[in-house]
């Protein structure tokens, strides 16, 4: 059930990238997609248990979450965030000459 929702998020983001005309909306859609991917990693990590994987005195039957995907996705979040920032800076620059930011208009103006 949860998995279906996660995939729906990824798909929504992907369709948003294709169907939205505005460049900012496209970037937001990409963010939605990456949120879906991050959620999927967290979901996979919690397959075998929900407890934070820290060794302690408390007994919980060893149902720890898998720390590896969580650690991995942390890197991906940082990278995704920096790419997002870079893209928005590019959009700010483009917005001066293309105030509507419609991607097909920008594409038409800038392809030889």
């Amino acid at each position: 059930m949860l998995e279906a929702f996660v995939f729906a998020t990824i798909l929504c983001g992907f369709l948003g990238i294709i169907l939205k005309k505005n460049l900012v909306m496209k970037i937001v859609a990409m963010d939605v997609m990456s949120t879906g991917v991050i959620a999927y990693y967290v979901l996979i990590a919690s397959r075998e248990g929900l407890f934070t994987p820290i060794v302690s005195q408390v007994k919980n039957g060893g149902a720890y979450a898998d720390p590896v995907p969580q650690a991995v996705i942390l890197t991906a979040i940082v990278i995704g965030f920096s790419i997002q920032a870079l893209m928005l800076v590019g959009v700010i620059k483009l917005a001066r000459d293309n105030p509507t930011l419609e991607s097909n208009e920008i594409e038409k103006n800038n392809t030889p």
């Binding site: 991995v72 890197t75 990278i79 594409e107």
Partner: protein
């Protein structure tokens, strides 16, 4: 050796940050980084057995380096050095050189690693640094081209991440070998990401616009090495897992034909070279075990051609045919074009022979057609008229001479190619190509539509390609 390897991976990044602190030394530091990589590649060739490293613990970073890596690293070092020489006197800021060495370092890291997560990080870093290089002129067009590049590669890498975690779910490791036994959807998503990043087949049609609209040295860098960072993991996967080898080979043949089909009809020099990159990546993929040598010759020849084409008086072949171009430049163009067409005495010949020898029977016809197409498209450069005069920048000749000298020297990797039969075959291929050029393509006015290169179509094709790979892996 392990310590040297780790130091070698870290060094370009260290240098990159050092440049921001010591902007006066930018060019020297960048050159130091490139020379260090060249030295490391030679060390790697001297090493007998492949080097496997497992850093930290069980879930740490895995590195795998052998001869194949050596070729790619050497290509990276030579191309970076040549581009640097080309830019030496052009007054580029320290920022440009810092990004160049960071691209260099991230591509090196992509060549060294053998697990999906390190690869992801390396590819994303190379994507960001390439974005900054493309957008360096700060014009509207360059920003749009860079934005489009980053957008497409990042979307592809998101799919790749999903694929990586699916592979992890089955085998509990992110290493390339963990792909064995993974469900077909994992393979489909990972390969789709790499195909897009590497500019292969229809998913790689973002490449012509990006490479042709960038500045000359940046195009040389992108076409020479950055796309190879996406192709190398495909080769590595094909070598580790025999069951994905046919998929890689099929895409190799497909992209070789698609790229060359566009290239023969193209009227613009830089776009022709960019389409040709799409095609040559196919030759690298078509025979995974010997792809390294082909990647080396292609990297050298394509970056020198981009540097040359950037200094021709026009970008349109029709205009160029009416003009006389500078004689030394024409000679350099002919050497590079002959090498890529596979003419003996140049390294392109050895690479083609070696690749053809390692093809499977069903690939042979298609790859020979692609080789003829290569000869046709480069006849456009060879049959330009020499005799003109043009002043070029001071750094131009050192860069080009380094690359072309590399082409002659690289012959030594594979002397066995020089057999009468191979030589006759190579010359016949070129002859047929040139004949075709004069009879059909010289006067052709057909202009192929660019609809497939539009942004939305490129994104849409990602879903189609992943479905295609899914069914290939499924069957």
């Amino acid at each position: 050796m392990s310590t040297i390897t780790i130091a070698w991976i870290g060094f370009p990044f260290f240098v990159g940050f050092l440049i921001f602190l010591l902007p006066k030394l930018d060019r020297y530091l960048t050159m130091l980084g490139a020379i260090a990589s060249a030295g490391y590649a030679l060390l790697l060739f001297a090493e007998k057995s492949p080097l496997k490293l497992q850093l930290l613990d069980n879930f740490g970073v895995t590195l795998e380096l052998d001869d194949l890596t050596g070729y790619f690293v050497l290509t990276n070092a030579l191309v970076t050095a040549a581009v640097l020489l080309y830019c030496w006197g052009t007054g580029k800021t320290a920022f440009f050189y810092a990004q160049t060495i960071i691209v260099h370092g991230s591509v090196n890291a992509a060549f060294a690693c053998a697990d999906f997560v390190s690869l992801y990080v390396a590819l994303e870093v190379s994507g960001i640094a390439a974005f900054l290089l493309i957008a360096y002129p700060r014009s509207d067009r360059s920003i749009w081209v860079a934005l489009r590049y980053l957008f497409i590669s990042n979307t592809a890498m998101l799919f790749y991440l999903v694929g990586a975690v699916l592979a992890y779910q089955t085998s509990h490791t992110f290493a390339f070998a963990g792909l064995r036994g993974a469900p077909p959807e994992a393979l489909a998503l990972i390969f789709m990401g790499l195909l897009v990043k590497g500019g292969v087949f229809v998913s790689g049609l973002w490449l012509p616009l990006t490479h042709s609209e960038s500045e000359t040295p940046v195009s040389a860098l992108l076409s020479g090495i950055v796309v190879k960072a996406g192709v190398y993991p495909l080769l590595r996967c094909a070598l580790i897992l025999p069951e994905v080898d046919p998929i890689v080979r099929i895409f190799g043949v497909g992209t070789a034909l698609l790229g060359v089909f566009y290239a023969v009809f193209e009227k613009d020099t830089k776009r022709m070279l960019a389409f040709h990159t799409v095609s040559q990546l196919g030759f690298i993929l078509a025979a995974p075990s010997v792809g390294g040598f082909y990647a080396l010759t292609h990297g050298l020849v394509k970056s020198s051609l981009f540097l040359l084409a950037g200094n021709l008086p026009s970008r349109n072949f029709k205009d160029l045919q009416k003009k006389h171009i500078d004689t030394p430049m024409w000679i350099a163009l002919v050497i590079a074009s002959l090498s890529i067409s596979g003419y003996p005495l140049l390294a392109g010949f050895g690479a083609k022979v070696l690749t053809v020898k390692n093809l499977l029977p069903w690939q042979a016809i298609a790859m020979n057609v692609a080789a003829v197409g290569t000869a046709i498209s480069f006849a456009k450069f060879i049959f330009l008229r020499p005799g003109g005069q043009k002043d070029v920048k001071s750094g131009f000749w050192p860069g080009v001479v380094l690359l072309l000298g590399g082409l002659f020297a690289a012959n030594s990797f594979y002397f066995e190619a020089y057999k009468a039969l191979n030589i006759i075959k190579a010359i016949a291929t070129i002859g047929i190509g040139w004949l075709g050029y004069f009879v059909v393509f010289r006067s052709s006015v057909l202009k192929l539509p660019r609809v497939l290169e539009e942004f939305e179509h490129l994104i849409g094709f990602m879903s189609l390609i992943s479905m295609l790979i899914f069914w290939m892996a499924f069957s």
